[in-house]
């Protein structure tokens, strides 16, 4: 007789593991299955966390080389110890994944290591590493199998020269010339890492601009800054062919005017997007399939698929492929199963790009407001007029606040600059509480702090002028 759980979670990424913990906290009997030995999914193992570890280490390398002298800190020489840098990243990942294992134990979540396959009805079969097939039963089954990098048909991943983000997190030598296909956040972040560590980096993007969903002003400034850091960008450049040889790879791209251009590098990172991962999951055994139009799994407001006892969250379903989005859905699924009625506010999900300067946004962009015909006011304030930013020696960028014309209600905030990732958290809270721009200006921000830039931008949106400009 197979073990029966109230909730059987497939996938221990930010969606799945959070759902499992929350459900267990609410008294449900919960199991979580993952094919990785280390819990945490893409985000912890090969995504958010390792990329941030590399971004921070490479940031300090550049600071030591280029910026410490201006603080009066003179170094006799700066050398890169890549092995230590990578080992530090691995240690951080390991500690965090162990942390999830600890939480599973603490809350009584049964953890299974193996590949889960739906087997009709309420049954899931876990193919364990040692070869045994373990049947489990779930009163509810939560699919949280996540996503994988999209491969280009003419440029299959080989893990050496043609790589996805996974391999680009642990090159054991700095590439001489890293080609990157795709100017999305993954390409920009990993490009930043290897550029800072000494690689020549060339980004090829089929669209006319980087980050098409980011406020265009902000994206334009990021392009300027990354170019200044030595990254090379080619837009409207669609890679159509590739030729690998012993020394590297040549990419052929088609340009906007129809001509072709070749690019030569020793490695190429394909970062054109991610797609839901359902391989081996056996969706067909329960009559489910990904929606052909969106490529995602359709769910209702309770995150139920067409099979009511099978639920799905995270990168598998509609919405931005972000860890905090998946986790928010995981919490809501668990709580709804326990009788609570929370909901995810999809209009207040912040997004962050951890380049330097960082970019962070929440709410509507100007373009979206224009499309909807909403009248709005804009307030901007630069970090260059902020005392804390000056002390940090990090004054690039600004905060842009969008407020509704008639009600002064905050509709969106877009930030490029130091610690944008931290500043955006306040903005998400402000949107959740229907704050007006005046409210933001009246909330007392500590001085000196970067958060004052937000208050000043909001003051400008509300009163027409900030205090310090």
């Amino acid at each position: 007789m197979a073990e029966t759980y109230d909730l059987l979670v497939i996938g221990a990424g930010p969606g799945g593991y959070v759902a499992a913990i929350r459900a267990a906290q609410l008294g449900l009997r919960v199991a979580c299955v993952d094919k990785r030995k280390q819990l945490g999914g893409t985000c912890l193992n090969i995504g958010c966390i390792p990329s941030k570890a590399l971004l921070d280490s490479s940031y300090w390398y550049v600071q030591a080389q280029q910026h410490l002298a201006s603080h009066g800190v003179r170094l006799s020489g700066v050398t890169l110890d890549l092995a230590t840098l990578l080992a530090r990243k691995d240690r951080i990942v390991h500690e965090l994944t162990q942390g999830i294992a600890f939480l599973f134990k603490k809350y009584g979540v049964d953890s299974y290591h193996g590949v889960a396959r739906l087997n009709g009805g309420h049954q899931v079969v876990v193919q364990q590493a040692e070869g045994t097939a373990l049947p489990l039963q779930g009163r509810h089954i939560l699919l949280a199998t996540g996503s994988v990098p999209v491969e280009l048909p003419f440029l299959p991943f080989d893990g050496q020269v043609v790589v996805s983000s996974t391999e680009a997190l642990h090159f054991t030598t700095v590439p001489q010339h890293l080609l990157i296909i795709g100017a999305g956040y993954i390409g920009l972040e990993l490009g930043s890492v290897w550029r800072r560590l000494g690689a020549e980096v060339t980004v090829l993007e089929a669209l006319p601009r980087l980050l098409p969903h980011t406020d265009s002003e902000i994206a334009g400034e990021l392009l300027k800054q990354l170019t200044r850091q030595g990254m090379q960008f080619h837009f409207q450049t669609r890679v159509i062919e590739a030729q690998a040889d012993g020394n590297g790879i040549t990419l052929v791209a088609s340009l906007a005017d129809g001509t072709r251009r070749t690019f030569r590098g020793d490695r190429v990172l394909v970062a054109v997007g991610r797609k839901p991962y359902t391989e081996g999951l056996g969706l067909e055994t329960v009559g489910l399939r990904l929606d052909p139009a969106s490529g995602r799994l359709a769910v209702d407001a309770d995150y139920r698929t067409a099979v009511p006892h099978i639920l799905a969250v995270g990168d598998l379903i509609a919405g931005p492929m972000l860890a905090h989005k998946a986790s928010a859905e995981g919490v809501v699924v668990a709580e709804r199963l326990a009788g609570m009625k929370p909901r995810v506010n999809y209009s207040a999900i912040p997004s962050v790009i951890y380049t330097h300067p960082e970019v962070a946004s929440v709410g509507a962009t100007e373009q979206e407001l224009q499309q909807k015909g909403i009248r709005y006011r804009v307030g901007r304030f630069p970090f260059s007029a902020n005392g804390r930013a000056k002390a940090l020696g990090d004054t690039t960028g600004w905060v842009k606040v969008l407020a509704e014309e008639d009600t002064d209600r905050l509709l969106g905030v877009h930030i490029i600059g130091p610690q944008a990732s931290e500043l955006i958290a306040e903005c998400a809270t402000l949107l959740e509480f229907h704050a007006s721009a005046e409210d933001v200006a009246r909330c007392i921000h500590p001085h000196p702090s970067l958060s004052e830039v937000l208050a000043e931008a909001a003051r400008m949106a509300w009163a027409g002028k900030p205090l310090h400009s």
Binding site: D406, T407, F433, H434, R442
Partner: protein, 49 residues
């Protein structure tokens, strides 16, 4: 009944317009009065000239 709390900007407008919180319907989370709610109440009380 519990008086809904208001935001800082709403509080300013309520005081300036000499409105009490009870005269305004809060549409924010938990019935909180937003600035927009006070502006709407003010517009309703003062018909356009």
């Amino acid at each position: 009944p519990v008086t809904p709390r208001s935001s800082p900007a709403a509080a300013r407008l309520l005081a300036e317009a000499q409105l009490s919180a009870a005269e305004v319907t809060g549409t924010g989370p938990g019935g909180r009065i937003t600035k927009g709610d006070v502006l709407a109440a003010m517009a309703q009380r003062t018909p356009a000239a």
